[in-house]
């Protein structure tokens, strides 16, 4: 029974981490622009995050050390500090976007003013983090986010051309708008492999007290959790390709995403979509908030952990409270959460190598890992993804400028 509950860690990481506002935005926009042509990129991203989350979960289980410990040790203080600053900026942008997303969904459900709902959302998240035990946070947001499965039903009910859908899983280059296609490919990879996911995942593994006995559980968590996240991404993209592309709709609003379930399934589809988005984005907000606090605490050697009382880890507690406060200021400035999401994803892509190189180095270090060191397959995949990550990191900002954020 305990094992089943532990799998919830993977489900939370998948729904709240994999399917966050970045995935919602990029998958739906990519589907509306290119139909099913970019489905293969989601597969590449999902396999990438499975490879690296498995690696960092294994490192955490064997060495009891989360990712940011490895970053500081392997990259040195100076570069490590650079990685910390970059990751904190991206974390804050993502957190602010997620909070804005929560407020927008609450507004679509209640009709109350957006700014009031930002305050309600922030307060709700703070209370959830403060009051609820870690495993309850996992269950509430993880299982609530499963309502997003409504998009899978919606995708089927929209009767897409399944031949075109299957063709989309074969890697290819679009015949039109190659730069915009590349921009969305980079965005989808960035959204799938966003660094906070592995920070949260590995810190969660340390918090849960994983040991080498849990390595099988780690594999199941990363594969089932992120695999499920990838399935939801497919559903979102297929829905957008079947519904929005033929009508020339360019989704720029969270509410537009929900239309993908409302049109085929009616009011119940709409309600489930909004609830699913609310929990997925809310869960991702908590992941991001924790990730930011974890990184700071691990880098500076503070006491950290959700399992400790706030008085047992005061600087960690202050860190997540401060992050929530800063996110509140950012989103109250009036910035569009969807636009902020696009910036956050693209900037996170630039920081990807700083996160993933140290994981690969530590997972290969026999003095840390003993007999649990990377095998040939893990190394081959790890190296392949480092090359991919390097290429997308170099091309992300130029593509964003050249395509005017995918507008063409």
């Amino acid at each position: 029974m305990k094992k089943i509950f532990q799998i919830a860690l993977g489900i939370l990481a998948a729904i709240g981490g994999f399917v966050d506002i970045g995935d919602l935005v990029f998958n739906v926009q990519a589907g509306a622009k290119f139909g099913y042509e970019l489905l293969w990129v989601v597969v590449v991203g999902v396999v990438g995050i499975i490879v690296y989350s498995e690696m960092c979960g294994r490192v955490a289980a064997v060495s009891k050390r989360p990712v940011f410990d490895a970053i500081r040790e392997r990259l040195g203080f100076g570069v490590g500090l650079g990685a910390l600053i970059a990751s904190e900026i991206v974390n804050l942008m993502t957190l602010a976007a997620e909070v804005g997303g929560v407020a927008l969904v609450l507004q679509l459900l209640s009709g109350l003013p957006y700014r009031v709902l930002i305050l309600v959302g922030i307060a709700g998240l703070a209370v959830a983090i403060w009051v609820a035990p870690f495993d309850w946070i996992e269950r509430i947001f993880g299982y609530g986010g499963l309502a997003l499965l409504v998009f899978a039903v919606g995708a089927v009910k929209l009767h897409p051309d399944w031949g075109s859908v299957s063709h989309g899983f074969v890697p290819h280059v679009s015949s039109s708008d190659k730069l915009v296609y590349a921009y969305f490919a980079v965005g989808l990879l960035g959204a799938a492999m966003t660094p906070y996911e592995v920070y949260f995942y590995s810190s969660g593994a340390v918090e849960e007290g994983w040991t080498p006995k849990d390595i099988g559980l780690n594999r199941a968590n990363s594969m089932i959790g992120y695999g499920l996240g990838g399935f939801l991404s497919f559903a979102l993209m297929i829905t957008a390709g079947a519904l929005f592309l033929p009508l020339g709709i360019e989704p720029e609003l969270i509410g537009t995403v929900a239309l993908g379930a409302q049109v085929p399934l009616g009011a119940i589809g709409l309600l489930l979509a909004l609830v699913g988005i609310l929990f997925a984005v809310g869960g991702a907000a908590i992941d991001t908030c924790f990730s930011g606090a974890y990184n700071l605490a691990q880098f500076f050697g503070w006491e950290w952990g959700k399992y400790r009382r706030p008085s047992g880890a005061p600087r960690f507690t202050l860190a997540w409270l401060a992050l929530l406060g800063l996110a509140l200021l950012v989103i109250m400035s009036g910035i569009d959460p969807v636009l902020l999401t696009e910036y956050a994803v693209i900037f996170s892509v630039v920081a990807l190598p700083l996160t993933y190189i140290p994981i690969l180095l530590v997972a290969n270090d026999r003095s840390y890992m003993g007999r649990y060191v990377n095998g040939r397959l893990a190394n081959a995949l790890g190296l392949f993804y480092l090359v991919v990550i390097g290429l997308v990191a170099l091309s992300a900002i130029p593509l964003m400028i050249l395509t005017n954020q995918g507008q063409g």
């Binding site: 600053i85 507004q107 020339g248 720029e252 609003l253 409302q262």
Partner: protein, 138 residues
């Protein structure tokens, strides 16, 4: 890359990526505006039809159309502030009228989301507007 270079890059990128139109309208910029208008009208049509069929909540329709109306109003403002030459100027004026109509219709739906007959009429009007915008974009 040193941190100072990153800051410069960010300061350079954000305004460049965010800047919009205004001034003389190029064919490409006009096409973008017409495509945006098509998108907003088509989405408005979907939302309105959902309400007319009783398949979407009034709250959702009211909130979503408020955002769509704001976006259509932005297109209207940008088209109104720009000028073009030759045949493009004629298209700009047509698009401006269309943007004004779409903004007004989305606003109507925002204010009266519970009137199903109105939603039915607006759904049809907005679909027509989307078709017209698509033709202008070509």
């Amino acid at each position: 890359m040193p941190p100072r270079a990153w800051i410069c890059l960010v300061l350079l990128v954000l305004p460049t990526a965010a800047c919009g139109g205004g001034g003389t309208l190029s064919t490409k910029a006009f096409q973008r505006q017409a495509e945006s208008l098509q998108s907003l009208a088509a989405e408005g049509g979907l939302v309105a039809q959902g309400r007319a069929d009783g398949r979407a909540t009034g709250t959702f329709v009211s909130v979503q159309t408020e955002y769509l109306a704001k976006a259509a109003g932005k297109v209207e403002t940008e088209l109104g502030a720009a000028h073009a030459s030759g045949g493009l100027e004629q298209k700009r004026k047509s698009a401006l009228r269309l943007a004004s109509r779409v903004t007004a219709e989305l606003g109507e739906l925002h204010r009266a989301p519970d009137e199903r007959a109105l939603a039915e009429r607006l759904a049809s009007d907005l679909r027509d507007a989307a078709d017209a915008a698509e033709k202008l974009a070509k």
